[in-house]
Amino acid sequence: MSFMKHWHIWMLLVFVVASLLAIGLRDYPYGRDGVKIAYVARDSPAYGVFKQGMIITSLNGATVADASAWQTLSSATGPVKLTVDGRVYEFAVNKTLGIDAVDMERTNIELGLDLQGGTRIVLKPKTNATPETIQQIISILQTRANLYGLKEINFYPVSGIGESFVQIEAAGVGSDVVDDLLSRQGTFYALINKTAPVKEGEASLRIGDSYYNMTLLDNGTISVGGNAVQPGGKFTLQDVEFLYVGRTNRTAEFLAKVFDNDDIELVYTDPQKSGIQPQGKVFFFHFAVLVSKQGAERFAALTKGMGSYLDMASGEEYLDGKLFLYLDDEQISDLNIGAGLRGQVINTPSIQGSRETRDAAMKEMLSMQTVLRSGALPVSLETVSVDVISPRLGSSFFESTAYAALLAAAIVVALIVIRYRSLNVAIPMIFISFSEVLIIMGVAAGNDSRIWMSALAVNALIVGLAYWKKEVVDMSGVMGALLVPLVGLISWTIDLAAIAGVVAIIGTGVNHQIIIADETMMRTDEEKKKKTYFFRDHIKRAFFIIFGAAATTVAAMTPLIILGIGMIRGFAITALVGTLIGVLVTRPAYAGIIERVMSKKERL
């Protein structure tokens, strides 16, 4: 018997080795011991020195083997010596080192959120958004995340049927950050309230040096330039947008838009122009913004000739009109305007607010500054889904999965042994199923192009040798040798859905192997009569069923890949790739093994 007769089995072994390498082969430039920096707190002495993703290998001479070792070691205070990315750093730690670190990845498989913990948020534009708009939203959100200091956070456009979403995945972002920072549209505007005195049935509104007379009509309506405006209605004078609030017999009240997003040229974050002060039981925060020339001139025109009053509490004199600042239609500050600013070109108004704790004030100030710096989103977003999964939820999962797989394998082996009364059918079946899982994982792993290209070369050689030795070389085997390494280049996340896909593949895999075993062991009447056995005929019929079944799987999964978002997609990709590996590589190899088993048994 020729060495190359069972080239399908050799091909499978090459893929198994390639997959093991694709999963496990990693560079450890600083050694296998160490932890990866996940987050550096603002009050950490290492803030700004270390970046997320750097590797810590030792602390004060002690090796940091893993995240739990880091937990105990990192509580050190006083002088601390850290080895990070191969270099030594020294810090004086007063309170806390403030560095969160996680275990280094040991495989090239990217685990899904549901297995390793984290936050996933899906935001939906409130109005229909084109793909360009979604890209614009994502770039603004990325700016916000960078400005805010969120590092391990990813934004993806996701499309449903006729709808678009923005998906955010982060290692640990609370829903508060989403509400305060990411889903805020960031529409900013400032209003000044203006009062127009009423005389002889007309209200007189002053802007700069001009006076606009408005006739009072019935039901509180006024006439602006011949147009009737009801309370709550809007009109524009001298490029300023006014909101008519209402009137009494003596005055008419208006709100004038003095600044909006387009006027903000700079948001100050330096300590001179921003800060937090305790005041009574709350903490006040303030920061200045630089507004455009047009905005500043608008302010001057609107405050010109405005009345003022003396505030008894502070002894200061303020203008009658106040400045109200709004973010996403919510009032964030109302500011008294000092009488000295009347009619002045003011270009650095200050934004103020208060919170109950210093932390909350800090956070609010930071998220407001960030939102204002990044600009407004083209459309407002609503949060449609939030998943917050604790990192420890998945930790016991792999252990339990191993037990479950063992139990399932034991049941399958027992049934197969009972049915065929032979371990020769059952043992290869377990090996084949295991190698299917392994190859799927190897294909899903990332950074493995060199490995898969080598596998392609070796398998092309195997097929070539088999052809040269005049063995039967089937089309599907050739496709397997070429196609599977190419598929190996892609990578996707292994999440629960993908695991479900693996379960589906193992299920159909075992079924197909049973079909192969049964077909090859069956004897037709003719064979019984002639006491011969046509192995190829049997295999052909088995593979008719298997290829037919696989084709239906491909048919079922393809629309899911195109349609599906989120969970369904990972399931479909895994099942599709698994089917491909199954019919082109592993199940033909099983047929080869069974052929050997049969030929020994029947002494052919």
Partner: protein, 281 residues
């Protein structure tokens, strides 16, 4: 050898009765609620709080602690400890729910909160329906290309369709909601059902020997397949790895049982009738 009973056409009574009862269950549900089946929070919008605990928790105590919220409580126990699953509306205050659980002494340090708003769940629901329909239609095309004869191909798809109907009715009986996970289970079931029917049809149309022999050989293979799949799924189900895996396993276990009747009785009888008419036997 022939089919076990002489008047084999009478065997069709079993699958017909199964279909009538299943359709009855679905229709009754439709009349009562206006929906064919219960959709899970993923497809209607809602919040799912999952708490991982070392020991199984007393559901009654949890329910009374959460009586102020509108929630439903389930638990899942397996190799990796126990999971407490609390389902509430999408506007539910998950922090308050977790705090209430903490107040009755449950360790809530390992938890996950999933919230899906009505907008996304509606999109999921549309996709789920399209996915199932597309999977069915595309599979039908492949099966037709495979056998190039509309009658047996139609029987394969009829069997697959019946499998889905019976599985959905059984899901209702056992209180399994239609979720993205159970939808995945249904698509796997569709795949499994078509696989067994392709096996049966291939063996019967292209095999040798009498119809009974062909049938018997495919039943032997089919039951081995059923046994291993069933055994492995039960192992997965009792392992309680995750609600997703358990739900898929449960749907498949129910569907596999339905498939035994629908493939090895319904489709076999229909195939024999077809082959007799065509003079293939």
């Amino acid at each position: 050898m022939e089919l076990p009973i002489k008047n084999y056409k009478l065997l069709l009574v079993i699958p017909i009765a199964l279909m009538v009862v299943s359709a009855g269950i679905l229709i009754t549900h439709y009349m009562r609620t206006g929906e064919w089946f219960n959709r899970s929070f993923e497809l209607t919008g809602g919040t799912l709080v999952t708490i991982e605990t070392k020991q199984a928790t007393d559901i009654g105590a949890v329910e009374s602690a959460l009586s102020q919220f509108k929630v439903s409580v389930r638990s899942l126990t397996g190799f990796g400890g126990s999971k407490l699953l609390i389902q509430a509306g999408s506007d539910a205050d998950s922090k308050a729910i977790i705090a209430a659980l903490g107040s009755i002494g449950i360790d809530t340090s390992v938890s996950s909160v999933q919230t899906i708003g009505p907008a996304l769940s509606e999109s999921f629901w549309v996709q789920a329906q399209l996915a199932l329909a597309a999977a069915f239609v595309f599979m039908g095309i492949v099966v037709f290309v495979l056998f190039r004869d509309p009658v047996p191909s139609g029987y394969v798809m009829l069997c697959a369709f019946s499998d889905i109907v019976v599985a959905m009715a059984l899901m209702q009986v056992f209180g399994i909601e239609l979720s993205l996970a159970s939808l995945g289970g249904l698509i796997m079931l569709l795949d499994y059902s078509v696989d067994t029917d392709i096996l049966l049809t291939t063996r019967c149309l292209r095999g040798t020997g009498t119809f009974g022999e062909r049938w018997k050989s495919s039943v032997k293979t089919g039951f081995t397949m059923f046994g291993t799949a069933f055994g492995a799924l039960v192992a997965l189900y009792i392992s309680g790895l995750s609600p997703v895996i358990s739900e898929i396993a449960a749907v498949l276990i129910l569907g596999l049982c339905a498939d035994v009747i629908l493939t090895w009785i319904q489709n076999s009888v229909l195939l024999k009738v077809h082959m007799e008419r065509k003079g293939l036997l």
